[in-house]
C-alpha cells in the first residue's frame, strides 16, 4: 500500500518541478510571512539566547557575562524544584489527560440519544479562559469551600487542609483544574480520530471473533497513530507552557512548592527583574520542548521507514 502511494506521488512532483516557473505571487506568499515571522518570532528568539548570556535588569544596557547564568541555574535549588515539578506536571497532566480524553472519547464515540449533551458538557471547560477556570476552582478549594464541605459530608474531615497553601498538595491541587480543562480538548481530538477509522475494520475483526478488548488493542489503537502524534505534541507543548492556571491559583507558591519552569521564568523576569537569568530559563524550556518533540518525531519517522 505505501509503496504504491510513493511511486505514484513521486512522478507528478518531478514533472511539476521540471515544468513550472515559480510564480512571483507564490514567492511573495512564502517570503512575506517569512519576513514578518523573522522580525516577530525568530529575531526575538535569537535575542533571547543572547540575553541569556547577559546580566540585564530591563533598564540599563545588558552586560555580557558568558555562561554565568547557566552555571547559576545548575546550582539553583528553586530551579531544580521547578524542573522536577515540570516533569511531574508533564507525566501527570500529560498522561492523565491522554488517558482521560481517550477514555471519554471511547465512551462517547457511539451515536446514542443524549451523547451530544455529554460531549458538550465535557468540552465546556475548554471554552472558559484558564483564568476564569482558576477563579472557579479557587472557590472550590477555599477554606470551608466546596472541597472541604464534600470531605466533611463523607466523614473525611481529617483530610481537610489549605489545599493551595499546603506545599504537599499545592501542585496537585493545581493539576486538577488543568486536567479538568484539557480532557475535553484531548477527547475531541480522539473523537475525530475514532470517526476516521473505517468501520469495516471493526466489522472484519468482529467476524474473526475478536472481543472488544482485542479490537481496541489491535484495531482502534494502531489506527489512531496519526492522532497520537498530534495529541502528544499538543500535550508536551501545553505542559511546558502551562503558566496561567498556576499563576492565577498559587503564583508558584507557597515558597516555590508549585513552581513550574514557566512561572519561575516569569517571576524571575518581571518580579525580580533579572531578565538575563530568566532568558536562560526560557532557553532551557525551549531546549526541553525541542528535545521531547524531536525525540518523538525521529522515532515516529524511523518506525515508518
Amino acid at each position: 500500500m505505501t509503496a504504491t502511494i510513493s511511486t505514484t506521488s513521486v512522478t507528478p512532483t518531478r514533472r511539476r518541478r521540471r515544468s513550472a516557473r515559480l510564480s512571483p505571487l507564490l514567492v511573495a506568499f512564502v517570503l512575506v510571512p517569512f519576513l514578518v515571522e523573522s522580525i516577530w518570532v525568530f529575531w526575538p528568539a535569537l535575542q533571547g539566547f543572547w540575553f541569556s548570556l547577559t546580566r540585564w535588569d530591563g533598564m540599563s544596557p545588558p552586560a555580557f557575562v558568558g555562561a554565568d547564568n547557566y552555571v547559576e541555574l545548575a546550582g539553583d535549588a528553586t530551579f531544580r524544584g521547578a524542573l522536577v515539578n515540570t516533569v511531574i506536571w508533564l507525566v501527570l497532566f500529560g498522561g492523565l489527560s491522554v488517558l482521560g480524553g481517550f477514555g471519554m472519547a471511547l465512551v462517547l464515540q457511539k451515536e446514542r440519544r443524549g451523547v451530544g449533551f455529554y460531549r458538550a458538557a465535557l468540552f465546556t471547560p475548554v471554552v472558559f479562559s484558564l483564568v476564569v477556570t482558576a477563579l472557579v476552582w479557587r472557590v472550590f478549594y477555599q477554606p470551608d469551600g466546596i472541597a472541604d464541605t464534600l470531605l466533611r459530608a463523607v466523614g473525611l474531615e481529617q483530610l481537610i487542609r489549605p489545599w493551595l497553601a499546603d506545599p504537599q498538595t499545592a501542585l496537585y491541587a493545581v493539576i486538577l483544574p488543568a486536567l479538568w480543562r484539557q480532557i475535553g480538548y484531548v477527547m475531541v481530538l480522539f473523537l475525530a480520530g475514532l470517526k476516521a477509522i473505517d468501520p469495516a475494520l471493526h466489522e472484519a475483526a468482529r467476524m474473526d471473533g475478536a472481543n472488544s478488548w482485542q479490537r481496541l488493542r489491535h484495531v482502534t489503537i494502531p489506527q489512531l497513530k496519526g492522532v497520537n502524534a498530534v495529541v502528544l505534541s499538543v500535550i508536551v507543548i501545553d505542559s511546558l507552557r502551562s503558566f496561567d492556571i498556576v499563576w492565577s491559583l498559587t503564583k508558584g507558591g507557597p515558597y516555590h512548592s508549585s513552581e513550574l519552569l514557566s512561572t519561575y521564568m516569569y517571576s524571575t523576569a518581571f518580579q525580580s527583574l533579572r531578565l538575563g537569568y530568566a532568558s536562560a530559563i526560557a532557553v532551557v524550556i525551549f531546549v526541553l520542548a525541542l528535545a521531547v518533540i524531536l525525540g518523538y518525531l525521529v522515532r515516529a519517522f524511523r518506525e515508518e521507514a
Binding site: V32, L35, V36, I39, W40, W43, P44, Q47, R55, W56, D57, G58, M59, S60, E72, A77, Y141, Q142, P143, D144, P162, W163, L164, A165, D166, P167, K251, G253, P254, Y255, H256, S267, F270, Q271, S272, L273, R274, Y277
Partner: protein
C-alpha cells in the same frame, strides 16, 4: 477589489517599516514599549499624560475629578490614563525607558524612586518643591534622591496598625495592648474564647507577612538597621534578624490557620465578621469594608518590645514622579504644583475612601476619629518607614514572600530559611 489592493500593500509596507524601526532601535522590547506607552505629546505644549495605578473605583473617580479641575483652571491640559496596578508595576520600567514616555506617574517615594533617579530617568522637580516649604522635613527627605535633588511629590500617606472591631473587643472584655507581653496575653485570652486572635491573608497576597517582619525588626533592632538590611548593607542571616523571628515565633500559635489560604481581602471579611480578633494591615483594607462597619473599627499601634528603641511606624507615602524625558516639563511641573496644593489634596481625600493623610500639612484630613488617631500616631513617631518593597525594591519582595511564608509554615527551619533568604537577596542585589 482594486481599492483593496493598494490598501493591503500599504499595510504590508507599514509592517516592513515597523520591522526596520525595530531592528534600528536594536531591541524589539524597546520598540514595543514605545508603541505601548500611550498617547504622545510631541511638542512642548501638548497635554500632559498622567499614568495612574489608582484603579479602585473611588480613587479613580477622585483622580478624574482632579484632572478635570486642573484642566478647568487653564494652566495647561492633562489627560489621565488609569492602568491596573499589577500591569502598571511590571510596565513602569518600560514606560520610563521608552523613547516617548508618558509624562507623569503615580508611584511610591523612597528607595524605588531613588533607584529610577539614579538612572537619570526622573525629572528634577526641585522647582515644585520651592512652593512646598511647609511640607514636613520627613517628606522632603523622602522625596530627595542621592544627588540631593527632589524627584518626587508626595500626595498622601497612610499607616499600618492592628485593626479590630470595637464592639468585639467590648464583647470579649479586652483592651488595646501597649507592650509585647500585653499583646501575647490578649492573644491568649482571645484564643481561650475560641477566636483565632490574629488574622492574616497570605493566599494571594503573601506580601502582607512583610508587615510583621518590618514591624518586629523596627521594634527590636530599630529603623536604621532595618533600612540598612533592606539596602543590602546587613545580612539576613545576622543574629539580630534571627531575634526578630524568635519573637515572631511567640505569636505564631495565635495566627488564624486559614489565613494561609486566603488573600488579605478575605482576611478583612473575616475580621469584620468577628471570625478573627485583630489584623495587622494598612488602612487601604478599609476600601473593601462596608461603610457601616467603618464606625466600629479601631486600631492600636504595633506593641512596644524594647522601650529603648526609638519609636518608628510604617507610613507608606504615595505620590508622583515625572519622566526625565517628558516633552513638556513646564506643563508637568504645573500639574505637580496643582496636585500638591491644599485644594487638590483635600478634594482627593474627600473623594477617595478617606482613610489617608494628605501630604500637605495645611490640607485637612477627614476628621473621623480613626484618622485623627492615625495622624497622632505618625506625628509621635521618631522615624517613618515605608514598607518592605518600598524600602528595598520590588525585586527583593519575592524573596521575603518565600522566606516569611515558609517561616510561618515551618518555624523550626529558621536557620536554613535565613540562609536561603540571604542567598536569594544577594542574587537580587547582584542583578
Amino acid at each position: 477589489m482594486s481599492d483593496f489592493d493598494p490598501g493591503r500593500r500599504r499595510f504590508l509596507g507599514h509592517l516592513g517599516l515597523a520591522g526596520l524601526g525595530a531592528l534600528g532601535a536594536g531591541s524589539l522590547l524597546s520598540a514595543c514599549a514605545s508603541s505601548a506607552s500611550g498617547p504622545t505629546t510631541g511638542n512642548g505644549s501638548g497635554a500632559v499624560t498622567i499614568q495612574s495605578n489608582l484603579s479602585s473605583p473611588q480613587a479613580k473617580a477622585a483622580m478624574e475629578k482632579l484632572i478635570e479641575s486642573f484642566n478647568a483652571q487653564g494652566k495647561g491640559t492633562a489627560s489621565l490614563n488609569t492602568v491596573a496596578s499589577e500591569t502598571f508595576r511590571t510596565q513602569l520600567p518600560t514606560y520610563l525607558t521608552s523613547a516617548n514616555p508618558p509624562d507623569l506617574y503615580t508611584w511610591y517615594a523612597g528607595s524605588v524612586a531613588n533607584d529610577y533617579a539614579s538612572r537619570n530617568l526622573l525629572l528634577d522637580v526641585s522647582d515644585v518643591w520651592k512652593s512646598l516649604g511647609d511640607y514636613p522635613q520627613s517628606l522632603w527627605t523622602l522625596s530627595t534622591d542621592g544627588s540631593g535633588k527632589q524627584v518626587f511629590v508626595p500626595m498622601n500617606n497612610y499607616w499600618w496598625g492592628f485593626f479590630y472591631r470595637k464592639s468585639n473587643f467590648a464583647k470579649w472584655g479586652v483592651q488595646e495592648p501597649k507592650t509585647w507581653t500585653d499583646f501575647l496575653a490578649l492573644c491568649e485570652t482571645l484564643k481561650s474564647k475560641g477566636v483565632p486572635p490574629i488574622g492574616i491573608g497570605l493566599g494571594d497576597t503573601p506580601w502582607v507577612a512583610s508587615a510583621w517582619f518590618d514591624y518586629l525588626n523596627i521594634r527590636i533592632n530599630g529603623a536604621p538597621f532595618h533600612r540598612e538590611l533592606l539596602a543590602g548593607k546587613q545580612r539576613f542571616d545576622d543574629p539580630r534578624v534571627k531575634a526578630v523571628f524568635t519573637r515572631w515565633r511567640e505569636a505564631l500559635p495565635y495566627f488564624d490557620p486559614k489565613g494561609k489560604a486566603y488573600p488579605f481581602q478575605e482576611a478583612t471579611t473575616a475580621l469584620l465578621a468577628g471570625k478573627t480578633g485583630m489584623f495587622l494591615i494598612g488602612t487601604f483594607f478599609a476600601d473593601a469594608a462596608p461603610k457601616d462597619a467603618l464606625g466600629d473599627l479601631d486600631f492600636f499601634r504595633f506593641p512596644i518590645i524594647d522601650p529603648a528603641v526609638p519609636l518608628a511606624e510604617e507610613a507608606p507615602t504615595d505620590g508622583f514622579f515625572a519622566s526625565a524625558k517628558t516633552a513638556n516639563p513646564t506643563g508637568t511641573k504645573a500639574l505637580l504644583t496643582y496636585l500638591s496644593s491644599v485644594e487638590a489634596q483635600e478634594a482627593y481625600v474627600k473623594a477617595s475612601s478617606g482613610i489617608v493623610l494628605p501630604a500637605n500639612p495645611k490640607a485637612r484630613a477627614s476628621d473621623s476619629p480613626l484618622v485623627v488617631k492615625g495622624k497622632a500616631m505618625l506625628d509621635e513617631a521618631k522615624e517613618l518607614t515605608q514598607f518592605f518593597n518600598r524600602d528595598s525594591s520590588d525585586a527583593l519582595q519575592p524573596t521575603a514572600d518565600t522566606a516569611l511564608t515558609k517561616f510561618i509554615d515551618k518555624p523550626d527551619q529558621i536557620d536554613a530559611i535565613l540562609r536561603e533568604w540571604q542567598a536569594a537577596a544577594e542574587k537580587v542585589f547582584k542583578g
